[in-house]
Structures are given as C-alpha cells and as structure tokens.
Symmetry: C2
Subunit: 217 residues, 2 copies
C-alpha cells in the first residue's frame, strides 16, 4: 500500500484524523491514544493504534515510537510560527504632517493592531514598527495612500534612504527621502508637484528607515 487519498479512508480513520486536528488546535499538543479513543467513541486503545498505523502508512501522519503524544501531523506547507513576526501598527504617517511617536518597547507591547509578516521579509525584527501612509507626497517612491510601511528604528541613514524624520521646530514627523548636505538635511517628497526642503540637522531627528512597503489592492 502506497499512498491513499483522504476520501478513501475508512470512517473511523477520518474521525481520528479530524479529532486530532481539532484537539491540536485547542491544546497545541497532540492527543494521547486514550484521548483519541474517548474523543471518537472508539472502544479500545488497540483499535486506535491499529488505525493510526494505517494512517501512518497513508503518509497522513508520523509517529514517534513509545513517546507520549508522539503524533506528528503531516502538514507539508505548515510554517514554523517562529518565522512569523508581528509588527505593531503604531499609527498613520501623512508624509508631511502631524507627529508620529517613535515607539518604544512599552508602547509596542500595548499596540493592538499588528501587521504579520514572514521573518524572511524583514530580517531582524529589532526595532520594527509599521505605519499607514497617508497622502500622496511619496508617490514617486512608490508609496501610495493607504500603503503599509514597515519601519526600522534607526538614528542614522544613508544618503537617499527613505526615512521618518522628526522635525523639532514643527513637532511633527514626516516620511521623506533624506540626503545629508553638510549641516543640513535635504528632505525630498517624492512627488513632482512638491519641492524638497531643507532643515538644520540639529533640528531634525531620524526616527526610522523604510524597510518594506506593502500595498493591498
């Protein structure tokens, strides 16, 4: 016997399979044989064991011999949850108005809105936070109204990086392309209808750099 489609499993085997699935969603750990027995109404542990062997032959699960709760469901594209990161969506950045706080560890923990991403998208998760972009001043940087911008908290940037900059004199944050020019920073809105402007580097504070942009359509 090689492989077997799910729909040609016997009725108790299907019951076992779905019981295991439900059980693992509720408890995070696999059930014991006796829990399967009582959960499915099967009358003996030997029957459960018998059917489990069949399911194992059908490649639908693996077992670790003689280990309690040794069942392993065969879910091929199941992703390790550790590869997923939750990034707090801390606010809206209007690309040119209103302050957005640079979040610290405490506010991060309190944020309820989270953006979930694979770690592979963003690398190291330290200092990551998310903002929703408002306005179209960064349209040439391919950031549109409503886009989710993933930021990494950084205090310095390379020339030409997209960054959130806090302007001390205006008490507001803005998302711009940043160039260092001597003692001043050039902040360039990426929209042909808007002109770059310059601020004294001492009156501006780099809050974070754009590491990823996500747009739902």
């Amino acid at each position: 016997m090689e492989k077997m489609a799910i729909d040609q499993l016997s009725e108790p085997q299907q019951k076992i399979l779905s019981f295991i699935t439900v059980y693992m969603e509720e408890n995070d750990i696999p059930p014991t044989i006796r829990e399967i027995q009582h959960g499915t109404g099967i009358s003996s542990t030997s029957m459960v064991s018998y059917h489990l062997k069949a399911l194992e032959r059908a490649q639908l699960l693996n077992r670790r011999e003689r280990r309690s709760r040794g069942l392993v469901m065969n879910e091929p594209h199941r992703v390790n949850p550790r590869d997923m990161v939750a990034i707090p969506l801390v606010g809206v950045i209007t690309c040119g108005a209103e302050p957005v706080p640079t979040p610290d560890a405490d506010t991060l923990a309190e944020t309820e809105n989270m953006v979930h991403l694979a770690r592979s998208m963003v690398g190291n998760t330290d200092g990551l936070y998310a903002l929703e972009a408002k306005g179209d001043s960064m349209i040439d940087a391919l950031i549109n109204d409503g886009d989710i911008v993933i930021m990494r908290r950084e205090t310095d940037v390379k020339n030409g990086d997209l960054a959130a900059v806090f302007l001390l004199d205006r008490n507001e944050s803005t998302l711009k392309r940043v160039y260092k020019e001597g003692r001043r920073l050039k902040l360039k809105p990426e929209n042909p209808t808007l002109k770059p402007f310059y601020v004294d580097a001492r009156h501006a504070q780099i809050q974070g750099r754009v590491v990823c942009v996500i747009r739902r359509t």
Copy 2:
C-alpha cells in the same frame, strides 16, 4: 510574588526555560519533566517540578495539571501558524515580455520558493501565486523592478484592475492595467514613456489579478 524579570531567575530556572524552548523547536511538543531533568542535568524530577512551579508563578509558562507534556510556554505574540500562508513564487513577470505560466495546482506544490504572508493580508488563499516584477513599465502603478506581486488566479477583471494577461498571438504574459472596450482590451503600461495598446479580447486571456504588492528596500 507577582511578576519577575527573566534576568532575576535562578540559574537552573533559566536552563529549564531555554531547554524547553530548544526542545519545542526541535520536537514541536513540550518535553516531559524527566526529559527536562536529563536535558539540564538536574538531579531529580522533584527539583524540576519545584522550578516549574516557580516559573509558573513568574507567569513565564502555564501548566495543565497531571497531563503528560502539559507545559505551555507563555509567548504573548505567538501567532497561530494557520494564519500564515505560503504562496509559491512561480516566476518573474517582466511587465511586457516572455511568457509566465499560469500555475495549476500541481506546479504550485512543486515550487520551492515560497513567499510567506499573513492570511489577513490576502484573504482567501485560493489561487494565489507570486511573481517577481521585472522592468519599470508599471512604475506609475507603484510597482517597481524587484517587487513581489501577489496574484490571484482569475479569468475576469473589473475595468482598471491590474492583471496578468496572456497574449495568445505573442505567446507571452504581461502585467498591465486592463480596460474592457467592447471586443478589445486596452492594456495600459503604467509608465508615461510607454503607450497603451489594444488586443482583441479573443486573443487575450486574463490570468490573474494583483492583490498585493510587496517591496523590500
């Protein structure tokens, strides 16, 4: 005793905690008390039990009484892996050259490169696949060279949707903004230097619609 910072845990307690973490990464299920005992070099099960109680008081883990492998790590932002979807990255779409196959279920299963996303980003996962955009013909649609485009397999689109269109006469696929104009389709590259062109609707086949764009910077 209320809550306790990790750094003021006793040394065996830290060892236990890290052992559990490593064990669960390797085995998916929590260890038994005796496995902790041997894995950490602690001399008795009662000591492990003792320290586990302390860790439980410190809110670092929960336990299900009298259940084998009843440990539950307290990981607040742990995401349910079912909320994560793996989308096959099936190829490159040059926004105007070379055919890209519309993937069927079989090829999806064989693809090795996956893009991982939260389900909340894309909704239903049916018919999703990912392409890497090449070229700058869609620059005004905020899709740049190297962006990851998440597509949903669809045979029809609304006017103005971004879609992958297969051109029968050229035997190639292209990513364009699509408008239906009677019997023909208007395919509009979103780049001011490129002009829209028209194809007979019978010679074009909608392959999928853009549902999400991801750009790493």
